[in-house]
Amino acid sequence: MLAFLGRRILIAIPTVFLISVFVFTLQHLLPGDPILVMAGEERDPEIIAALREKYRMNDPITVQYLAWAGNALQGDLGISLRTQQPVLELIAEKLPVTIQLAVMALIIAILIGIPAGVLSAYKKGTWIDWLANIIALSGLSVPNFWLGIMLILLVSVRLGWLPASGYLPLSEDPLQSIRVMVMPAFVLGTALAATLMRHTRSAMLSVLKSDYVRTARAKGLREGVVLVKHALRNALVPVVTVITLLFGELLAGAVLTEQIFTIPGFGKLVVDAVFNRDYAVVQGIVLCTGIAFIAMNILADAAYRVLNPRMSDQ
């Protein structure tokens, strides 16, 4: 397993390099000039020239890339053009918030999606299957922002059960922190639960037809054991891929939910950075997201090998 992980990480290096080149060049192809944004209303040519010099905007793009990549390797992603804070510090500050949100959303999605998928495959064609599918379809169709607003109206405003917005670090007051985050996590999680349910259902349907499930029944095992130990374990292999990809998406895609619940997370950082043409921050964020995706893929492959012993020999 360790050799496998080492190999996968080595293979990931060129991928990260390509991402960094993409990130860097695409940024510079975009219209708009961050220096003009910084220089303010007057656009004093002297100030603009000084700023260009300061941020090495006059160097050839390759030199700029090498300087940026060299620093990045040492953990220096540059300084935000807008807030003058180091980019890494900004990310380190916001990322845990979004990770907490994503993890909670994923847990909610797994707790709803996988059992619902198993049940609807097992009860295929019955009213239970129909109900699960209808709920899943609504989960996919209802826009996050609408569900978020409705939940705030009902749970916070009407019933006053949960706070409508805000954020509290997990380290300060774990219970309260989870309470604040439950509603946004639920909003994010429902759409994922629907996706997971559909994938679990189709994987279970094919596994339930397999010969080894028939063997398990022929042994006289209880249906619960047949379903979980024999069927679900094998059906999880494709579902795990979906889960890891979803998690990567969650990290990058919690923007709307974070806006609605005013959570100071990664999504808000992205939006602010893009609107302010804060190159350094956008580059840092895209790079981090890319690395997160790669890490999740490696994790997914590692999970396969645990679930599917046939792969461990290769």
Partner: protein, 335 residues
């Protein structure tokens, strides 16, 4: 067949797909005594596997339903018992092995665990005792280095080894009845002989009665005490192996026998039975073999009953014994 209390007594078993006119398995009856081996022989789709699955209560989740019949096994009717009762029986007093050893074992679980869980499903014993039993069973099915194999996964074993594991799993609780559905069909010929040998020896050692389902007359000759020949969902001939092989009475059985290649004879071309099996949604009401039968007459439009022809031998043909049938009356069957 005259034993007053056979181990398994199947009467009038019919299986039907909901909404079709004629049943897929029609009025199948046979008995099996303790320690006996019965071979059910017939070509693909004749309903032999369905019969086995129905007896094990494994038709659940398919569109197939047992329509009529009873199957008394140790005081329980396998066809009408509650699912929980059947579950308690399965893998314990009645076990089954399947055709495809490659796909019949769970790829994600170690084989030791797969055998041990069969034991623990029916006996309240600790994990290590179940594991010890699994190791013992692997030894019984002559798997070398059994102790080490416990922790291997199915993909690490050959097809023959996997079928041995399936047999070990099925016999782990000393069942009174073992149903084997084409256990050697998916294996190489040399391995087939080994597995058949093993099953015969284990049958003799444990006294487990076996129903072996096959399309291979060689397997029948090797294994069976009794034979039931099935065609298109009905038993057309039943008897002891000697009766059926030496004195086949049904035209289909005759056809099967003459289509078997022989090492001794200089037969030239192999004989085939003209025509093909009727499709499930177009089953004739009368004799289901009539369309392919050189002896068919107008009488065959009525279904022939499985009528006794001497002790233990029964044939479902209006014209049996065929010796009485005038040679000139044979007709040409369109191919």
């Amino acid at each position: 067949m005259t034993d007053p209390s056979p181990l398994l007594d199947v009467r009038g078993l019919s299986i039907r797909v909901a909404g079709t006119a004629e049943p897929l398995v029609d009025n199948v009856s046979f008995t099996l005594n303790a320690g006996e081996t019965l071979c059910i022989v017939g070509e693909s789709g004749c309903g032999k596997s369905l019969t086995a699955l129905a007896l094990m209560g494994l038709l659940e989740g398919t569109p197939l339903r047992v329509e009529r019949g009873s199957a008394m096994f140790q005081g329980i009717d396998l066809l009408s018992a509650a699912p929980d009762v059947l579950r308690g029986l399965r893998g314990d007093r009645a076990a089954m092995i399947f055709q495809e050893p490659m796909t019949s074992l769970n790829p994600a679980l170690r084989i030791g665990e797969q055998i041990a869980e069969a034991v623990r499903a029916h006996r309240d014993i600790p994990r290590d005792a179940a594991r010890a039993r699994a190791a013992e069973m692997l030894q019984r099915v002559r798997i070398p280095a059994a102790g080490k194999r416990l922790d291997e996964y199915p993909h690490q074993l050959s097809g023959g080894m996997r079928q041995r594991v399936m047999i070990a799993m099925a016999l782990a609780n000393d069942p009174a009845l073992l149903i084997a559905d084409e256990p050697t069909t998916a294996l190489d010929v040399t391995i087939q002989a080994q597995i058949l040998d093993l099953m015969r020896n284990l049958g003799a050692e444990t006294g487990t009665a076996q129903i072996m389902i096959t399309h291979d007359l060689g397997v029948v000759a090797e294994m069976a005490d009794k034979v039931a020949v099935m065609y298109a969902g009905r038993i057309v001939e039943a008897g002891t192996t000697a009766q059926v092989f030496d004195d086949p009475q049904h035209p289909y059985t005759l056809g099967l026998m003459s289509s078997m290649p022989s090492l001794a004879g200089d037969q030239g071309r192999l004989v085939t039975i003209p025509g093909s099996v009727p499709s499930p949604d177009d089953m004739p009401r009368g004799c289901r073999f009539a369309a392919r039968c050189p002896f068919a007459t107008a009488q065959c439009e009525a279904p022939p009953p499985l009528a006794p022809r001497g002790t233990g031998h029964a044939v479902a043909c209006w014209h049996a014994p065929l010796e009485d049938f005038a040679v000139g009356q044979r007709r040409e069957v369109p191919a």
